[in-house]
Amino acid sequence: MAKRKRKTVIDIRGLWAGYGREPILEDLDLKVYNDDFLGIIGPNGGGKSTLLKVILGLLPPQKGKVKVFGRSPIEARKYIGYVPQFAVYDKDFPINVWDVVMMGRRSRRGLFPFYNAEDKQKTKEALEAVDMLEFRKEHIDDLSGGQRQRVFVARALASDPKLLILDEPTASVDSVIQESIYQLLQRINEGIPIILVTHDIGVIAQAVTRIACLNKSLHTGDGEMLTKEQLESAYQCPVELIAHGVPHRVLPEHKK
């Protein structure tokens, strides 16, 4: 990890959030730094997607403080590249790979009606970064699952994000492609922080620098060690603690 000056990117304190009367997130604290590759794991229904929605400004918090780059999520979301678990789109939609990735430039271009040469250049670079430039004319649904996921990563990268957030990016692809996507993410992480939500605890250990365990609440906020007990309480079943990721810091080291 490059020796960047350590800065807080996301600061969440005492967050309560949810949809109905029952909150999904209860009193959650989380800090994310500019050199993080943070893995968020936890059981289904534990609030992983809800937390992402709050960070992206798609769901207002019921209580608590959420700062992204020191601003409110809605102001800050144009600096975030987001890769959804399943992009909700119509597979018959008439659109090719190039136009999907170009969409990522919207946050930079605003209401101005046309994309310019810079947008095209960034789109090209994003497609090159994920090794998909040769597929730019293909229909999005003619790609394999792994290729499509790379396109959605490229769409997120096209906006020159200062933070990349991915929700289960490898849920629908086989293990060889998973491996290549994680390598890609590690390369990206040399430049920007990444938050990765997954329940794939095996693979996550190889890529991430910190793991947070989310089950309604989260207190790994700053410098706390993630213990076997915490993992087990999050999953509510015995968990094999990852030990093979020796060169990586699976467990957070930084002291208070």
Binding site: Y82, A87, Y115, R155
Partner: protein, 286 residues
């Protein structure tokens, strides 16, 4: 054949024939462009609802004695915005809301026309269109509507593309998706008003869906889909009108039947061609 020569003759001679042709073109342009959004965003049912409530607006306009197209536009825009807001703000199911507005609009239209004194139009011509009766004023309204529609689509093209493709991502990139949804529904309403005169309340959906669906069979680019849909729409309009002239049939119905037949033929040809290609290319598989 003699009748068709007569048709071209009439087209050169009579102003009402020229108006009719221009009206058909304008409706095809709007229908091809907005229809592409209707097809890809699956707005067909709400479009149907909008066109039927427009019937209520037309009835109201006759009753109070103002231009029917203005009445249609008022009712269509109201429906588009109410259904859009219901979708955003409440938990009422959107399709139920559409159904409710649909029937109220139709019933109100019947009552208004029944109670209108003096000249009342034949409801059949409102329901099924009558392209022959396009007045100069109506043509001007249509031209204004098309300028509005084209202006919005050109200015908002990239945002509409992002929103219709993936609403959640569009919101993250800073697009006000709720507002843009309302704009798209309103443009759909205006397009429907534009087409009412030609194919009428009931057959509007054909002009809005068949040309874009046909175009969509051949392209994976929304822009190409729109332009091809416009051209297909114009051809089908003229073709349908020629059939109606030749055999003295109502033009709205012949345009729709021609469009439907062409769609079925093209669609099944593609399917058969793919099937044959698959068979011959790959004889060893199984």
């Amino acid at each position: 054949m003699a009748e068709l020569i007569l048709l071209f003759d009439a087209l050169l001679t009579y102003e009402f024939m020229q108006r009719m042709f221009i009206a058909g073109m304008l409706a095809s342009v709007a229908g091809g462009i907005i229809g592409s959004y209707v097809v890809v965003k699956r707005l067909v049912f709400i479009s149907s609802g909008i066109s039927h409530t427009a019937f209520g607006g037309i009835g109201m306009a006759y009753y109070f004695g103002f231009e029917p197209m203005i009445g249609a536009a008022m009712a269509a825009l109201l429906t588009a915005i109410v259904v859009g807001l219901v979708n955003i703000k409440t938990k009422i199911r959107a399709d139920s809301a559409i159904g409710i507005m649909w029937v109220i609009g139709m019933a109100a239209g019947v009552l208004f026309i029944k109670k209108t004194e003096g000249y009342t139009p034949d409801p059949m011509s409102i329901l099924f269109g009558n392209i022959l009766l396009v007045s100069r004023e109506e043509l001007i309204i249509m031209a204004v509507l098309i300028v509005i529609i084209l202006g919005f689509v050109m200015f908002l093209y990239k945002d509409l593309l992002a929103m219709t493709f993936d609403e959640e991502f569009a919101a993250i990139t800073g697009i006000h998706t709720n507002l843009l949804n309302l704009v798209l529904l309103s443009l759909t309403a205006l397009t429907i008003v534009l087409m009412l005169k030609i194919v009428g309340v009931i057959l509007v959906i054909a002009m809005l869906t068949i040309p874009p669906s046909l175009a969509g069979l051949f392209t994976n680019d929304l822009k190409v889909m729109m332009i091809s849909a416009v051209i297909i729409g114009i051809v089908l309009n003229i073709g349908g009108f020629m059939i109606s002239w030749q055999w003295d049939l109502p033009p709205g119905a012949t345009i729709v039947i021609l469009s439907g037949v062409v769609f079925l033929v093209v669609f099944s040809s593609i399917k058969i061609a793919r099937f044959v290609k698959h068979k011959t290319k790959d004889p060893s598989s199984k």
